[in-house]
């Protein structure tokens, strides 16, 4: 019987993978629903004997089976998009059935956990430190140091909390892990538990990911005995972007408003329910099983650039020809990612801007495409890697509109706790609207004789509004409690800096 592999990833399903699977079954094939290879422009991708066909439609079923299909891409593993990657976290992508314990074990699953149990907590933390793994959620804090803090804390109960509230536009790597390799994430959490002495773990998963919720719940049930005495529970969010911020997430998990907490105290010392808590992103935890295998930490460390060690699952999104998931060591340039690997824009028009790191990331001009993927390099360029989502825009993009959207989004999603974010974002939208309108006339209050400082014989110019916007962004950047208000200035200021003409500047 012909074995046909089709992904059951949410994106493949949305593109019609389920109907395709049924059609192949009707032809007498054995259909295996695997994870996605990550080549999203080819989804639904059909794999027969290692060869790929995509994007496949129902009309292609017969030609794929009789070998006359013109949608063949040849050997999938040899495809340049796959062959060019260094896949540690996504080693199983495209190859295994996400909820098959047999597939997971046969591909080295649980080896990291077994070894972790043998070597003990101190040695586990050492391994993670050796690997150089830094938090993949955006801040890039060394994971080993965080774990060590929790390990050394004295408490009756400690927790592992996985931040799976992947709300950033242009990012989907967390979703890909949870839908494609859920056991790897759970294994990573169990290893973290072993390392710090925690017996309970929570995955805080956003409600916008129905497939991931279903699969993670199923996976937790399936492997409960393997990870025992460690227990993992899936918690579903309720549509608040700010809950991706770790302290806000903890409040939400406790059943409170998702408001940000002031730090200190660090969650590592006073986290969930006031107990020492490791809060890690999905990608950080999913990288751990590989690191804990024999020699894994060294192998991980040997890849990378500068102080950014290991691999980053980069997500190519937006208006890009070859969008999808590309895991590679740090050090790749943005130009290589967008033009060589991504193939430029999907629309065929010139690239105008690239936003790296989600809604709070800077817009990068093609002139800066030689910038390499590395935490420090990006910080120096007034940009951030964030969760490594790369969103490409073609030359039709309205950068003033995107800057306005960044402020609008911040206003909508602000938790309301600190003023620069809550009010600043609203004022930001207003200022950008005034810039778009070419400045404004003086209002009644400004014209009142008591307001002796205002210039009365003319309105406010665009240049003055831009100055005000710059000042507001400074305030938000340095005065906000968390990254939402603190980083919203990045997209705004970068748009202003690189495309001043769209803001009425020379």
């Amino acid at each position: 019987m012909t074995i046909v592999k089709i992904s059951d990833d949410a994106l493949a399903r949305a593109a019609g993978a389920d109907k395709l699977a049924t059609a192949f079954e009707a032809k007498g094939c054995e259909v295996q629903r695997t994870s996605s290879w990550g080549m999203h422009w080819l989804e639904p991708l059909v794999e027969v004997d290692g060869k790929g066909f995509g994007p496949a439609t129902l009309a292609d079923v017969d030609t794929i089976l009789d070998g006359s299909s013109d949608k063949g891409i040849g050997e999938i593993a040899a495809h340049p998009f796959i062959a060019g990657q260094t896949r540690y976290t996504f080693a199983r992508a495209g190859k295994t059935r996400p909820l098959s314990l047999d597939d997971y074990k046969a591909t080295g699953g649980w080896a990291g956990l077994e070894r972790a149990r043998k070597i003990g907590s101190e040695a586990i933390v050492e391994e993670v430190k050796t690997s150089g793994l830094r938090g993949r959620g955006g801040a890039g804090f060394p994971t080993g140091i965080k774990w060590d803090t929790v390990r050394k804390a004295e408490a009756s109960q400690k927790y592992i909390v996985c931040n799976a509230d992947e709300g950033d536009s242009g990012t989907f790597a967390d979703r890909a892990v949870m839908e494609g390799d859920p056991f790897a994430l759970i294994e990573g959490m169990a290893i973290a538990g072993e390392a710090v002495g925690a017996t309970r773990g929570y995955v805080y998963l956003r409600s916008e990911y129905p497939d991931a919720i279903r699969k993670m719940n199923a996976a937790v049930d399936l492997c409960a005995e393997i990870i025992a005495p460690f227990v993992v529970e899936i918690r579903v969010g309720a549509g608040a972007y700010v809950c991706g911020e770790e302290t806000s997430l903890l409040n939400s998990l406790e059943g409170k408003r998702g408001e940000v907490r002031a730090k200190p105290p660090l969650p590592a010392l006073e986290g969930f329910l006031g107990k020492p808590t490791v809060v890690n992103n999905v990608l950080s935890l999913a990288a751990v099983p590989h690191i804990l295998t024999e020699g894994g930490a060294e192998a991980y460390k040997d890849v990378g650039f500068g102080r950014s060690r290991g691999t980053m699952p980069i997500q190519l999104a937006g208006n890009i020809k070859h969008g999808g998931l590309y895991e590679i060591g740090f050090g790749v340039t943005l130009g290589e990612l967008v033009n060589d690997i991504g193939g430029g824009t999907a629309s065929g028009r010139p690239v105008k801007a690239v936003q790296v790191g989600g809604p709070l990331g800077a817009y990068i001009h093609p002139d800066q495409f030689d910038i390499v993927f590395d935490y420090e390099t990006f910080t120096a360029a007034d940009a951030l890697i964030g969760h490594a989502g790369v969103t490409v825009f073609d030359d039709t993009a309205d950068m003033l509109g995107m800057a306005r959207f960044a402020m609008e989004f911040c206003a909508e999603e602000s938790c309301g706790k600190c003023t620069p974010c809550r009010i600043g974002a609203v004022r930001g939208v207003e200022i950008i609207d005034r810039i778009a309108a070419g400045g404004r006339e003086r209002d009644v209050i400004e014209l009142a004789p008591q307001m002796h400082n205002t210039v009365k014989d003319r309105g406010r110019t665009v240049a003055e509004e831009v100055e005000l916007l710059t000042d507001l962004c400074e305030t938000m950047k340095f005065g906000s409690l968390c990254a939402l208000g603190g980083f919203t200035p990045y997209p705004v200021m970068s748009a202003l800096k690189h495309w001043p003409e769209e803001f009425g500047q020379k």
Binding site: L11, A14, E166, S169, F172, A240, K256, R257, L316, M402
Partner: protein, 142 residues
């Protein structure tokens, strides 16, 4: 005891042993009734020994909880950066026109399908690579 209080009682019983039971309870109540209204808030507050203000504060914080049920079908259309880059703003009017008063077209900020937008969600079904025609059809069939 009314049906509603019975059901909410069962939901509370199912979750109250959890650490931080409020969100799981609210998620289930929202799914069951299509809203978390003030009556439900009072019942949950009573069940968890919280004040009604505490519960209302949480309910009003999250986008997913509605104060009253809306029987209309909902189509969530992603309006975030990646879908904007792929032209969602050019097709949103087609969706709104097709919707009229019958269907609720609401924005959502990211469904995680960013390489294949514009994307939309109806119930637990996801849709990608939408254009003006396909999004209108999606709304009509909602």
């Amino acid at each position: 005891m009314s049906d509603k209080s019975h059901i909410i009682g069962e939901i509370i019983a199912r979750h109250h042993e959890r650490e931080g039971p409020l969100l799981p309870i609210l998620n289930d109540v929202q799914a069951e009734f299509g809203c978390v209204d003030s009556e439900a808030e009072a019942m949950i507050a009573h069940g968890l020994n919280l004040s009604r203000a505490d519960v209302h504060g949480v309910v009003s914080f999250y986008h997913d909880y509605k104060s009253e049920a809306d029987p209309r079908p909902v189509v969530q259309v992603c309006r975030a950066e990646a879908c904007k880059a792929r032209g969602v703003e050019q097709i949103i009017d087609a969706a709104k026109n097709a919707a009229g008063e019958r269907v609720k077209v609401v924005p959502v900020y990211c469904l995680g399908l960013c390489s294949a937008g514009p994307a939309a969600r109806t119930g637990d079904d996801l849709h990608v690579r939408l254009d003006a025609d396909s999004i209108a059809k999606l709304v009509e069939n909602a």
